[in-house]
């Protein structure tokens, strides 16, 4: 009995129960999907969507840390995904024939991808976080585009003499006959072993959620939120603004990098195009964060899943699905944020809720 009571009191504490419910939800979804797969109910199309769902969820959780808790709008997070994807895929390609255990190799690739994305986030964060508001947004966008464009002109090859680097074309790598161009500029990295799986995706998602929840509920997290709510007041009570901002931004970039690693090992060919690592992707992830609720990690995951599945399930209306998606987006934003609609909702729905509560009290 005592254990049950203790458990109940733990659940009443929102800081503890909220993460637990989220983890439980993710694990439950995983189990249900596993059952559906073994039952052969899930179509190939939906099975192919499972890893992208994890990728988008992870990226959205990472961005939510930056937008929801740090309060800075980043529209360049796809750039960090790009860094994570390419560095890890590059490592995997380099060590492909070294006889290393596949799982170990993937883990090292994952760590490399995350570290490189974190480093990129740190380096970019130093100048960017000095700016504020719209300026910060446009500079993150600029950095995202720069990363994507730079990746498209990098050529790295390897032969018996070692690595060769060029920014012109694959011919100027001067590879010997046994050599192979690993990174091929706009053609990207080819023939990457397919190592991302739904299970790995879910594990990564759980780890990302764990990191974010732990950070947010810690002293550091409260400092970050204080900066978001009032920068000057936070500074005046002795919070080191630059340090905490950089910390949150770097972690956010690292999580985006993890999503990138998953992306890089999900398709055989990895190329950086405006569609996958350009600002369109950054905005896509931002939409997940905003519709899921800023500062609500569970919401980010749900929004990422629903908004990715919705266009696929509406395929019957194939041509109209993107149009409907944009209309849904606008309507949802108006419904959630318009001061007039909020007031209307308060009057008609919240009112009933209050009356009900009053009755219960009486």
């Amino acid at each position: 009995m005592a254990a049950v009571k203790k458990f109940q009191s733990i659940l009443k504490n929102k800081e503890v129960s909220r993460p637990l419910i989220t983890y439980a939800m993710v694990i439950l979804a995983y189990l249900i999907i596993q059952v559906l797969i073994s039952g052969g109910i899930l179509s190939n199309l939906l099975q192919g969507l499972l890893v992208p769902l994890c990728i988008y969820s992870i990226a959205a959780v990472g961005l939510n840390l930056c937008v929801g808790y740090l309060g800075e709008l980043s529209i360049g997070h796809a750039g960090f995904m790009c860094v994570g994807a390419f560095t890890s895929a590059f490592f995997t390609k380099c060590t492909m024939n070294s006889g290393m255990n596949e799982m170990v190799r993937f883990l090292i690739a994952l760590v490399i991808g995350i570290l490189c994305a974190a480093l990129a986030g740190y380096l970019i964060g130093i100048p960017v976080l000095r700016l504020r508001g719209d300026y910060l947004a446009i500079v993150t966008l600029a950095f995202g585009e720069i990363i994507m464009n730079l990746i498209n002109v990098v050529f790295i090859g390897r032969d018996s003499r070692g690595f060769h680097f060029s920014m012109k074309d694959s011919v100027s790598l001067n590879l010997e006959e046994d050599g192979e161009a690993i990174m091929n500029g706009a053609k990207g990295i080819m023939r990457i072993p397919h190592q991302s799986s739904f299970t790995i995706g879910i594990i990564l998602l759980l780890i990302s959620l764990f990191v974010c929840y732990q950070l947010v509920n810690s002293r550091t997290g409260r400092a970050i939120m204080a900066i978001r709510d009032n920068r000057i007041a936070a500074e005046s009570v002795g919070i080191d603004i630059t340090r905490f901002k950089l910390l949150a931004f770097t972690i956010s970039a690292a999580i985006a990098g993890a999503a990138g690693v998953l992306y890089g090992h999900n398709l055989a060919t990895l190329i950086a195009t405006p569609a996958n690592f350009g600002y369109n992707m950054s905005i896509m992830i931002l939409v997940f964060v905003i519709l899921g609720g800023m500062g609500n990690f569970r919401g980010s995951v749900i929004a990422a899943v629903v908004l990715t599945l919705l266009p696929e399930l509406l395929r019957g209306l194939s041509d109209y699905r993107m149009l409907m998606y944009s209309i849904i987006l606008i309507i949802m934003m108006l419904y959630n944020w318009s001061p007039k609609i909020i007031a209307f909702r308060e009057r008609h729905f919240r009112g009933k809720l209050h009356k009900k509560e009053e009755k219960e009290v009486a």
Partner: protein, 293 residues
């Protein structure tokens, strides 16, 4: 000579950026929001002219006027439906809604006009100017683009300085609440701003498609972002700033493309923006942000 002709190409591209950036900067100054859909209004303008001129064989000048009218109405309608209800809401919410409108316009164009890239026939039938014994050729579109940019710039400055509506815009951008107390119709002023900005977008669309003769539902997206960059570069909210930022960005882009690397042109453009913002975070002509606790 090739340097000079590159410089002129840069000026021409820069003038287009400047016209688009004017729309961004006016809306930002007065409604305090980033109208992400601005770039896609350019595309709509391009399609209207294309369909009227190539499809219906209409007079070029008339079709340009029709495009301006369509875009102006479109801009005002977008503002009324999507942005006005969000006045006073979180600025991030407004930005996301603008992104939604941008997606909407692109996908609506995709359905209406198809995804194929259309070959745009230049609206202007002006012979190229040959200078220095034929060594330097300036196309008619270039001349018209630069001239219309300067005319628009001067016209806008005069409009804001001399007319009552212009003064109202200035007042709303300085302090919306105080302007309202002084009897300025804020809603009308914001609508007018969107109307002017979208009308300019139509002109920019025609010029852009005449200079770079392709048209697809995504035509407006990248120039839109670059023009926004130009507006930030020059100091967002400032009309001369948008002009200077646009011209500089166009020249830098063409020069970077020619002399450094065509693939790295975007890297150079965005790199310059970052450097400028780090040295002077509010842009070239931006007002410093005052902070109060």
């Amino acid at each position: 000579m090739s340097f000079l002709s590159n410089l002129i190409n840069g000026l021409s591209l820069g003038s287009i950026y400047a016209i688009i950036a004017l729309g961004y900067t006016m809306v930002y100054g007065i409604a305090k929001m980033l109208n992400f859909a601005h770039g896609d209004v350019i595309m709509v303008g391009g399609y209207v002219v294309f369909n009227l001129m190539t499809g219906q064989g209409m007079n070029p000048l008339l079709s340009v006027i029709a495009a301006i009218i369509v875009c102006t109405v479109l801009g005002v309608v977008i503002e009324k439906i999507a942005y006005k209800p969000l006045r006073g809401a979180n600025s991030l919410a407004v930005l996301i809604t603008a992104i939604g409108v941008s997606y909407f316009l692109q996908n609506a164009a995709l359905l209406l006009f198809g995804s194929d890239v259309k070959a745009f026939v230049s609206v202007f039938n002006v012979k190229p100017f040959r200078l220095a014994g034929g060594a330097l050729t300036i196309t008619g579109v270039t001349v018209i683009t630069v001239i219309s940019c300067i005319v628009i710039m001067i016209g806008l400055m005069l409009f804001i300085k001399k007319t009552k509506s212009g003064q109202a815009m200035l007042a709303v951008s300085e302090d919306r609440a105080a302007a309202e107390l002084m009897g300025v119709n804020v809603n009308q002023t914001i609508s007018l701003t969107f109307a002017i900005g979208s009308g300019l977008a139509a002109i920019a669309g025609v010029l852009l498609c005449s200079a770079y003769p392709t048209l697809s539902p995504y035509t407006g997206a990248m120039p839109g972002i670059k023009a926004f960059t130009a507006a930030v570069f020059g100091g967002i909210g400032s009309i001369p700033g948008a002009f200077i930022g646009g011209i500089l960005l166009g020249v830098i882009e063409i020069m970077g493309k020619t002399y450094i690397s065509s693939q790295l042109a975007d890297v150079i453009v965005f790199g310059v923006l970052i450097v400028v913002l780090l040295v002077k975070p509010t842009g070239i002509l931006g007002q410093p942000i005052r902070e109060k606790v």
